[in-house]
Amino acid sequence: MRLIEKQQLMSAAEIDRTLQRLAHQIVEKSDGTRHLALIGIRRRGVPLAQRIARAMRGIDGVEVPVGTLDITLYRDDLSKVAPQAVLQSSHIAFPVDSLDLVLVDDVLYTGRTIRAAMNGLFDLGRPKRVSLCVLIDRGHREMPIEAQYVGRTIQTSTTEIIEVRLQEIDNEERVVLVDRVDS
């Protein structure tokens, strides 16, 4: 089996415009940024959350706190994954109680990562509200989970993979659709 790149879904400029729009939508829906905090899910949710926070500073002039969450310990497939999942640290330096939290991730797929992330958040306290912001929603949910803020919805087949490549991690900036083909 090998992977082939089928299509570019978003360019760097499109990613940037989409994040700007998502930042505006979150600020509008949250009635300002006073009780707002963003939680980036490791790994690619983290730079996305930081960029959205930066965009919010441009809108409201307010510094929105950004935390990072590693969901490994909350996964439901730990006894099935080989090689073993390596743990990363979470950094949430503010009390989550009474905050409006926005979880940020790159791709929403089965919903299992978000289920795990919510378990992790509730070990830290009792947030007032939790919503979800994703760059791409590719469908195929296995959990009753939906995102309130979606950059783009894309129809996919289950053999396809959506790769969000970000400057901070991948040294390039675009979203591509990749497919697995038997060779």
């Binding site: 992977l3 790994r43 690619r44 590693d70 969901i71 490994t72 310990l73 909350y74 996964r75 497939d77 730990l78 006894s79 099935k80 994954v81 080989a82 090689p83 073993q84 999942a85 390596v86 743990l87 990363q88 640290s89 979470s90 991730d105 790159d106 791709v107 929403l108 797929y109 089965t110 299992r112 990562t113 795990a116 378990n119 509730f122 070990d123 830290l124 306290g125 289950t158 053999t159 993979i161 790769e163 969000v164 991690i169 991948d170 990749v178």
Partner: protein, 359 residues
């Protein structure tokens, strides 16, 4: 032979070359944790790094995870222990696992059952991990050769106490910013100490230099050769000499039953070797003091030093839970050999990880 990986030179039965196949973890080759001696510096660094997320968990309002839900950890303490047993028990329960406790006084060992029979009987109750302490060196390795499940050595005779060595290293790394090239002084009954051996095996891999100090009967010259090849170890018999230039001072618990007339009385030990504030003036101002506990206040260390700002004894205890959570996590998760990573096509967390293997 049922098992292929060995961690322990004491045994001759298991292969000395560990095989990747026994572990689902590419960063840690072994199925068990029996000793620190065979681990590489990279493997130790990996385990210490994996303890970091668990250090955060200790600060959470809710400390209980479901990561090992439905799994059972045997805590078989054939030799008495309070701290280590509670620490492993806390680690297991914070990961969501259940524990089965065996304590020496209450066990059928008193009725003459052999170690292997006891281990096999506990194993027949289908636990997922076997944590054990025993007064005989090599006991954990022996049990590991007969069980299919991971075995964790929680102290075997005068051989090793790997989780203590790891928690000491984590404490030192947090306080000193690293492990490389430190001057480490170990004070007390080195000859009988598995803690000292695990410390030397671990820190020796990071280029630390050791000064071992205590009464001659407890610090035989042979100890100069127990570390990784080339490790500078010197034995000294004056505490003043041992404290000079020390970055880290590990004070061992003195077994008071080993102090007797005429070889060495308790008062003589206090006079010659006790770590007190006056002697601490000889050490570096930022020297770090560790003690594996339980402390004999007023014998090997004075209360003002044990409780002073340079002491990290309570951090050691907190780190003990984090390190043991990391150990249980490493040994008890991950699919066994031959399982295809089916998650690749299922969850959204994994494809990006596999797609960017360089991360």
């Amino acid at each position: 032979m049922r098992r292929t990986a060995s961690l322990c030179k004491i045994s001759s039965g298991r292969s000395a070359v560990p095989l990747l196949a026994v572990s689902a973890n590419l960063n840690y080759r072994f199925r068990d944790l029996l000793a620190l001696e065979p681990l590489t510096a990279d493997e130790i660094t990996f385990i210490l790094d994996q303890a970091k997320p668990f250090q955060q968990i200790q600060r959470n309002p809710l400390k209980k995870l479901a990561t090992l839900r439905g799994k059972t950890v045997v805590l078989a303490f054939f030799e008495n222990s309070t701290r280590t047993r509670l620490s492993f028990g806390t680690a297991a329960s914070r990961l969501g696992a259940d524990t089965m406790n065996l304590q020496a006084e209450a066990s059928s060992l008193k009725k003459g059952e052999t170690l292997l029979d006891t281990a096999n009987n506990l194993n027949a109750m289908k636990p997922d991990c076997f944590v054990m302490r025993h007064s005989s060196s090599g006991a954990a390795d022996f049990v590991a050769r007969h069980l299919e499940i991971p075995v964790v050595n929680a102290g075997d005779g005068t051989h090793e106490h790997p989780s203590q060595g790891l928690l000491d290293a984590l404490t030192i790394r947090d306080r000193k910013g690293g492990l490389n090239g430190l001057n480490v002084t170990i004070l007390g009954d080195i000859a009988h100490s598995r803690v000292a051996r695990s410390n030397i095996h671990l820190l020796g891999k990071f280029g630390c230099r050791f000064t071992l100090c205590g009464p001659a009967m407890w610090v035989p010259r042979e100890l100069e050769h127990i570390g990784p090849p080339g490790t500078p170890i010197r034995c000294v018999y004056r505490v003043e000499e041992a404290l000079d230039h020390a970055d880290v001072i590990i004070v061992l618990r003195v077994q008071t039953e080993r102090l007797y007339e005429p070889s060495l009385s308790q008062n003589d030990y206090i006079l010659l070797y006790q770590l007190n504030s006056e002697r601490m003036r000889l050490a570096k101002p930022d020297a770090l003091i560790l003690h594996p506990g339980p402390i004999n206040r007023g014998i090997e260390i004075t209360p003002d030093v044990a409780d002073g700002p340079r002491s990290a004894v309570l951090e050691q205890v907190t780190n003990g839970v984090s390190v043991r959570m990391a150990i249980l996590y490493l040994l008890m998760t991950g699919a066994s050999e031959g399982t295809h990573p089916a998650f690749e096509s299922k969850s959204e967390a994994s494809p990006k990880e596999s797609a960017h293997a360089s991360d």
